[in-house]
């Protein structure tokens, strides 16, 4: 009964107890997201804080509603933290000054239709936060592509608490005053106008701006260094393995570097790809979702590389400037296929599953 037993006898397979639980993992992930989120709050001010709160509350409400309809315990289902994390990830992938109903609809869609309809935690085929984001992007293209230039909360012209509430309620009052394009969006529109990247990006892509994240975008994409640091902590704590993030970033950076080497006027360089848009957030926090990614290590490498490469393809030749959400959803759909064809070798058997004969093995070696 007591764990003192482990002092005398080494724990063996069916009797070990891990300290990990769903809620502990979810809360650790949330904690590693917190620095980037707080930095985003500081950059984009009160409207972004309200949007974050509303989105998380909507996700929790959607989850609670379904759990109640299913006749299960609402408190224990919500305390696993997965709905909180879904809402959180969705919130920091939205334009920070989006109106309140964007957050409400996205949060409800993510937890009800992308997660609970499939059977809840562990049964969803697609990443709920990304389904919510893609739903919003397809349904409300105008609201989802209005980005504001960062206006630190301490700045004099930043909206205060009360103005922030008004922005969250009614949207941005005079859009032209504050709106600006993200790096990827700007590059795409300028290219379509026939202005090559060397001219359009002169001055806007200085390394200092990239590193500090003080540019327009969602909360989770501008502070890419903080997201990267949070992801490193997750790998260090063994919450996630390095396979998916590394393969994803490589799958994005390698084609980008090759294309940029061939024609720098048409293709963005690899570091712009890595440090803008949802690359970091997607690599460490979204593609690594346990439920919707493959189980084997090799499968995870394939999955990550696919996400990265599809992101590059969508960003470069697609209709949308950013493709991380679409790429992750497409690869989520591929996950069962990957798991079907790439399986780990069973101990004592060869790759095809035939038992190894100990005698012949010994003879060979």
């Amino acid at each position: 009964m007591t764990h003192n037993l482990t002092l005398t006898a080494p724990p063996t397979a069916p009797h070990t107890l891990a300290a990990n639980s769903i809620s502990r993992i979810m809360l650790t992930v949330a904690a590693t997201l917190a620095p980037a989120t707080l930095y985003g709050f500081w950059l984009y001010g009160w409207p972004s804080i309200f949007l974050w709160v509303i989105t998380v509350l909507a996700a929790l409400f959607g989850e609670a509603l379904c759990i109640k309809l299913a006749g299960r315990s609402v408190v224990s289902a919500l305390s696993d933290g997965s709905a909180l994390l879904t809402g959180w990830l969705l919130a920091i992938s939205l334009p920070p000054w989006a109106p309140w109903w964007i957050g409400v609809l996205g949060g409800l869609f993510a937890t009800i239709l992308a997660k609970q309809v499939f059977g809840g935690l562990g049964f969803n085929l697609f990443n709920p936060a990304m389904v919510g984001r893609v739903f919003l992007l397809i349904s409300f293209p105008v609201q989802m592509t209005v980005w504001v230039a960062p206006l630190p909360i301490t700045a004099a012209s930043a909206p205060g608490f009360h103005d922030g509430l008004l922005i969250a309620a009614h949207g941005i009052p005079s859009m032209d005053a504050v709106s600006s394009a993200t790096l990827l969006g700007f590059a795409k529109t300028e290219l379509s106008r026939g202005i090559d990247l060397l001219h359009s990006l002169a001055g806007t892509n200085a390394p200092g701006i990239v590193l500090s994240g003080a540019r327009s975008g969602s909360m989770g994409e501008t502070a890419s260094l903080l997201i990267l640091a949070g992801g490193m902590v997750l790998i260090f704590l063994r919450i996630i393995s390095w396979h998916i993030p590394a393969a994803l970033l490589a799958g994005l950076a390698l084609p980008a570097a090759i294309a940029h080497g061939i024609d720098p006027t048409r293709y963005l360089d690899a570091s712009s790809h890595l440090f803008s848009g949802g690359a970091m957030l997607g690599a460490f926090f979204i593609a690594t979702d346990y439920v919707t990614s493959p189980n084997s290590r090799i499968g995870q490498l394939v999955f990550g590389a696919g996400c990265g490469f599809l992101t590059f393809v969508i960003r470069t030749w697609g209709g949308y400037p950013e493709g991380m959400a679409f790429a992750v959803l497409l690869m989520n759909a591929m996950t069962p296929v990957i798991d079907r064809y790439i399986r780990p070798r069973i101990l004592g058997r060869d790759w095809r599953g035939a038992p190894l004969d100990p005698a012949t093995q010994k003879g060979k070696s």
Partner: protein
């Protein structure tokens, strides 16, 4: 006879509904239902084909040998669909411009062939005609319901352009529920067809389960009585 008629109609409208129970005719149910009017028009066109096909096939059922029945059914249905297609093109040209592509596809709507095979080739002419009406109206109901939900959420209107389909007298059907509505683009796009159909299927299941529940104790009471 009247009890039988009522059962056939009820079967078509609810119990054995083409879309919600048989899950047939999914192509028009997804593709055309971007608005209530489109759903209604497609449903009525399919109903016309269904009734005519059922009547003709039922009256020919003793002359068609089983070995060649499927080709014969297909030729008959294709002829009827072509007639509907040309009539719509002649008299409701504006609606035809919206639905035109899908009218021709009624030929491959499995529901029509399914009723020919499973009902009309085994039953009398009048019964088959009633079955065609019931099934067709059930299909129309389903398509109109999906279309109305998608139109309401997607564009904030109900039965827009209904006067194109039913004539200017029915212009009163066209309502704008939410003025100055921004629209939810996805509801007009294909994914929402699957989404709304799935939710309606779930609602029908829940409805039928709820209807079944109170009958269980009654059956027990009846057994206790005897």
């Amino acid at each position: 006879m009247s009890i039988d008629t009522r059962r056939i109609i009820k079967d078509g409208l609810w119990g054995n509904n083409i879309v919600f129970s048989q899950m047939l005719g999914m192509c028009p149910a997804m593709a055309v239902t971007t608005s209530g009017t489109n759903g209604l028009g497609m449903g009525l066109a399919t109903t016309a084909v269904l009734v005519c096909a059922n009547v003709i096939i039922s009256s020919l059922r003793d002359f068609v040998s089983p070995q060649v029945r499927i080709p014969v059914f297909i030729v008959l249905i294709a002829t009827l669909v072509t007639l509907v297609d040309m009539s719509l093109n002649a008299w409701m040209h504006d609606l035809y411009r919206v639905l035109g592509l899908f009218i021709a596809l009624i030929v491959v709507n499995c529901a029509v062939l399914g009723r020919a095979e499973s009902f009309a080739s085994r039953n009398g002419v009048i019964t088959s005609a009633i079955d065609g009406v019931g099934m067709g109206l059930g299909f129309t109901l389903a398509l109109t319901a999906i279309g109305l939900i998608r139109e309401l959420i997607g564009a904030g209107t109900l039965f827009s352009q209904a006067s194109l389909l039913l004539g200017p007298k029915f212009a009163f059907l066209e309502t704008t529920v939410v003025p100055d509505y921004g629209g939810v683009l996805m509801m007009i796009l294909p994914p929402a067809g699957f989404l709304v159909l799935g939710l309606l299927l779930a609602a029908k299941q829940a409805c039928e389960r709820r209807a079944k529940e109170p009958s269980a104790p009654r059956a027990e009471a009846a057994i206790g009585c005897h």
